[in-house]
């Protein structure tokens, strides 16, 4: 499970996260919504410590670390309990799909080569990319790259996979396939925290939905509540502006 308390982050004198609390049960799927600039990406980057929070307490699995006084070693140990899926895929250009998925297993987790190889292939098969295992990123479509990106994160068997708008760089016809894979992972009990604007996906697959605004979580609950019956005015406004809001006709 993941539990972050009072996460704060500023860039210069711009306060981007103003004490965010977020917790996710083991095996649950959390969707984070929010307008542009509300701090969603920054929150995810703080959760895997690509960005170091200025303060707050972060617990992932069995490890709890106070951000204000964490050592490098603690940060690395904590980060190794997470996987990350990037909006722009972030695949290593110099490696094939298989090597991309395997690298963290062999080099960070120090699994034996054969075991790492088997797990990497298994994860590629899970996202339907086993037949392109030897292709380089430059030879893959956006949707295929993102599948490999998801396999790479999943192969680490992390406590939580963090995803930052995993489908927003994709052509519309490729989005469905990637969301399908995420639903599969959710059913397999992988803990995920996903920033996305795909409300239909949130409604269907999320266990909880968080709405961020101005660097804070302003609404939080099960999807039916947050999406159909939001309390705050900001959330209502946000939903009204979403293009595909036919389904949330409650407002």
């Amino acid at each position: 499970m993941v539990a972050a308390t009072n996460i704060r982050k500023s860039f210069g004198d711009r306060e981007v996260l103003r004490g965010v609390d977020i917790s996710a049960e083991k095996g649950s799927t959390t969707v984070i919504l929010g307008p542009s600039g509300s701090g969603k990406t920054t929150l995810l980057r703080c959760l895997n410590l690509l960005e170091r929070p200025d303060g707050g307490i972060l617990r992932i699995g069995e490890q709890t670390v106070d951000m204000a006084k964490a050592t490098r070693r603690e940060l690395l140990a904590l980060r190794r309990k997470t996987g990350f899926v990037f909006q722009q895929y972030g695949l290593f250009h110099n490696m094939t799909a298989l090597q991309n998925v395997r690298l963290g297993l062999t080099d960070a987790q120090r699994l034996p080569r054969a075991e790492a190889d088997a797990r990497a292939r298994e994860c590629l098969a899970q996202v339907g990319m086993l037949d392109r295992a030897d292709a380089y990123p430059s030879e893959l479509s956006g949707g295929q790259k993102q599948r490999v990106g998801i396999a790479r994160a999943a192969a680490l068997r992390p406590e939580v996979i963090l995803m930052d708008e995993p489908t927003s760089a994709l052509d519309p016809e490729l989005v469905g396939g990637v969301l399908e894979i995420l639903r599969g992972l959710a059913q397999d009990g992988v803990t995920m925290i996903i920033v996305t604007h795909e409300l239909a996906f949130a409604a269907q697959a999320a266990d909880q939905v968080l709405f961020m605004d101005g660097g804070a979580v302003v609404e939080q609950g099960p999807p039916e509540q947050v999406l159909q019956n939001p309390r705050g005015e900001r959330m209502k406004q946000f939903l009204r502006r979403m293009p595909e809001m036919g389904f949330a006709a409650g407002i």
């Binding site: 980060r79 990350f84 990037f86 690298l103 430059s138 030879e139």
Partner: protein, 240 residues
């Protein structure tokens, strides 16, 4: 009269044979300067990329000195200046080829600094963050992600620098190192056939440069990661 009026093809062939005796020296200076230059370039690039205080300023002075003065002058400076320093510490004089190696190493180090730096800078931050996100340490990210990609970008630039360096070593004749150009000069003088002997030496340089270029092209093709390739193309190399 410094040059016979009749062009003598057979002299070209004989001159080529003589010039080739200087080939090991030319290759030695080139290889030493290139490898030492890579090491220098690597450390200078790190100092600049990591903004290490003091070191970074020293590197800046070094780079602007090498870029802002003629190679021939640098060669003389090392050749006449270094013995002064060494004599003070009681060391004997060194062979000319060593001065040449030192001068050309300092020279190529400055230019290779920008090759190393620009190649490493060309690796996107997204690649580094992706490496960190799968749990790699900083060193592992460098080894597995940054350096392989940077090397791929660097190959054509390194090739350019290597050929420029190879040609540049001809200036070593100015400090009486018997490399290929010196041999051509001496041999040309012996028969008053400078055109023939310089033609011979130019053909040897040309052949070597073509070999380097072909080698780099082949290496570049092998190193391309898939269809599009992982390295930005069309970057022009720094001239040596």
């Amino acid at each position: 009269m410094l040059q016979n009026r009749q062009f003598d093809v057979s002299f070209v062939v004989r001159a080529a044979g003589e010039v080739l005796k200087g080939l090991p020296v030319t290759l030695l200076i080139t290889a030493v300067a290139f490898l030492a230059g890579l090491v220098i370039g690597f450390f200078c690039a790190q100092a600049r990329r990591r903004r290490i205080p003091v070191l970074r300023q020293l590197v800046a002075v070094y780079l602007s000195f090498v870029r802002g003065t003629p190679l021939l002058v640098q060669l003389y400076l090392v050749y006449f200046g270094l013995p002064l320093l060494l004599r003070r510490t009681g060391q004997p004089d060194l062979p000319g080829v060593l001065y040449a190696c030192i001068a050309f190493s300092l020279y190529s180090g400055a230019y290779l600094t920008s090759v190393v730096q620009s190649s490493m800078d060309a690796v996107g931050i997204d690649q580094i963050e992706a490496g960190v996100s799968v749990g790699l340490s900083r060193m592992q990210v460098l080894r597995r992600v940054v350096w392989p990609q940077a090397f791929c970008t660097a190959v054509p630039l390194l090739g350019n620098n290597l050929t420029s360096l190879l040609k540049g070593t001809s200036l070593a004749f100015a400090i009486s190192v018997m490399e290929m150009t010196s041999r051509a000069t001496v041999y040309g003088a012996s028969g008053l056939r400078f055109a023939e002997s310089y033609l011979a030496v130019s053909l040897v340089y040309l052949l070597l440069c073509v070999l380097v270029e072909k080698g780099c092209a082949a290496a570049g093709n092998r190193l391309r990661f898939g269809r599009g390739g992982g390295s930005p193309h069309g970057i022009q190399g720094g001239k040596m």
